[in-house]
Symmetry: C2
Subunit: 236 residues, 2 copies
Amino acid sequence: MNKMTLLDVSLIKNLDPFVGMEDTALQDVLDLSDSMHYAKGKMIFREGDQAKCFYLLLDGHIRVVKTSPHGEQIIARVISSGELFGIAKALHRDTYPADAVAAVDCLVLCWSNRHWDKIVNAYPSFASNTNKTVGKRLAETQARVMELATERVEQRVASTIVKLAAQTGKKTNEGILIDFPISRQDVSEMTGTTLHTVSRLMSAWESKGWVKSGRQKITLLESHKLAMVAAGHDKN
Amino acid sequence: MNKMTLLDVSLIKNLDPFVGMEDTALQDVLDLSDSMHYAKGKMIFREGDQAKCFYLLLDGHIRVVKTSPHGEQIIARVISSGELFGIAKALHRDTYPADAVAAVDCLVLCWSNRHWDKIVNAYPSFASNTNKTVGKRLAETQARVMELATERVEQRVASTIVKLAAQTGKKTNEGILIDFPISRQDVSEMTGTTLHTVSRLMSAWESKGWVKSGRQKITLLESHKLAMVAAGHDKN
DNA sequence: CGAAGCCTTGATGCGCCTCAACGTACGTGG
DNA sequence: CCACGTACGTTGAGGCGCATCAAGGCTTCG
């Protein structure tokens, strides 16, 4: 995690958290930040740590992971570039609620929580954008409760893959590639199942030509078919 | 839902959402509110409705219910007296994310969303308390995802009942009574199982003398035993 | 080149859903 | 106030979805 310098407003100008802010305001905020690099696999913060900073992901992908009392891990969400994370301050927490791990090499900005109130008060649209983000995450989490409570594994896995493709997908000549290393185990930790079941499902879909997958790699060839499975229209 | 009048600051003075506010401020806020009564079973708002108001529950209990595309219902949370609900505005939503149903006769205050910005800007501690509430709900929802993904039905049901007892429990000479009508079906919709399984579990616990339950009524006699089950220490 | 991490596939079993039937408390209206 | 309808609760039988256990192949990296 090396500190970097030379930040330009254009880096963050068009990101969700900063819509509605003037360039001068953005420069002010940027001047308060540090720029850091985290290598693939590095932990950025740990569940229960004192929350000293909040972060913006400039480039890369981050897994937000919670561990149960019995040691099972689940992936709470995946952060993509342009998103805030570690914003414990926005929720009046003084510790982080989960681990954050760099899924690939990541470039992040971070701000000391000292500056939070200053920024929020000076730039109401930032506060407002943050609330919106939190609201979205609450809705997503609630939707996941719904899925876990009412849908079968097959649907949840399909739905998760389709959502990941929408969030992080990169067009290739074959189809939509999920653009960071993701194992069967990762998918199982996102869906509340086992890596074995995920593997079987992926194999089945691969043999139907709906996906193409390999070691920590998933490409969607027929995402509408998967979307149908996700919706519960099993038979096909 | 009859409109009422004659509101006193003492009604809300000690409630979480209003800590840190002066009496004069409370009176100002109170003057903007309407007081309403909802009979047991009435729907206060429906998922997808335009969010015109936000609410404070003064007395009663409210079930927050989501319905899946296939018609299954789940109970997202139970609101107890003193809590805000329907605060779509805080999350920058313009519709409510779920149904709100009066579990018993309820007394609520409501404010037009017109007043939201005014109140939030005039009384920063209200804004701050609201963020804290949202943060707690996000954490709770996340914890539920965790439970659904990693625990077995028995644990989830035990855990839900213990939490309900902590949230709404009333001491009786027998034990802790969950203080609103709650059916087997309700519990199943909170835990992602069926009413049959809940019924079997309750019967088993009743025969061990851990709970005493009847029609829409649950009393905990040995909550520590249930807490053990919730924690996964099955054998006993 | 060995070791570790990821993936696959089979066999087996059980937790819990599903289907079914009946018992019991509530409240509503004749 | 009783009779009936409706909602809630209980309990059994059966089966399926998926976890678990087990074994082996393949890729990546030091």
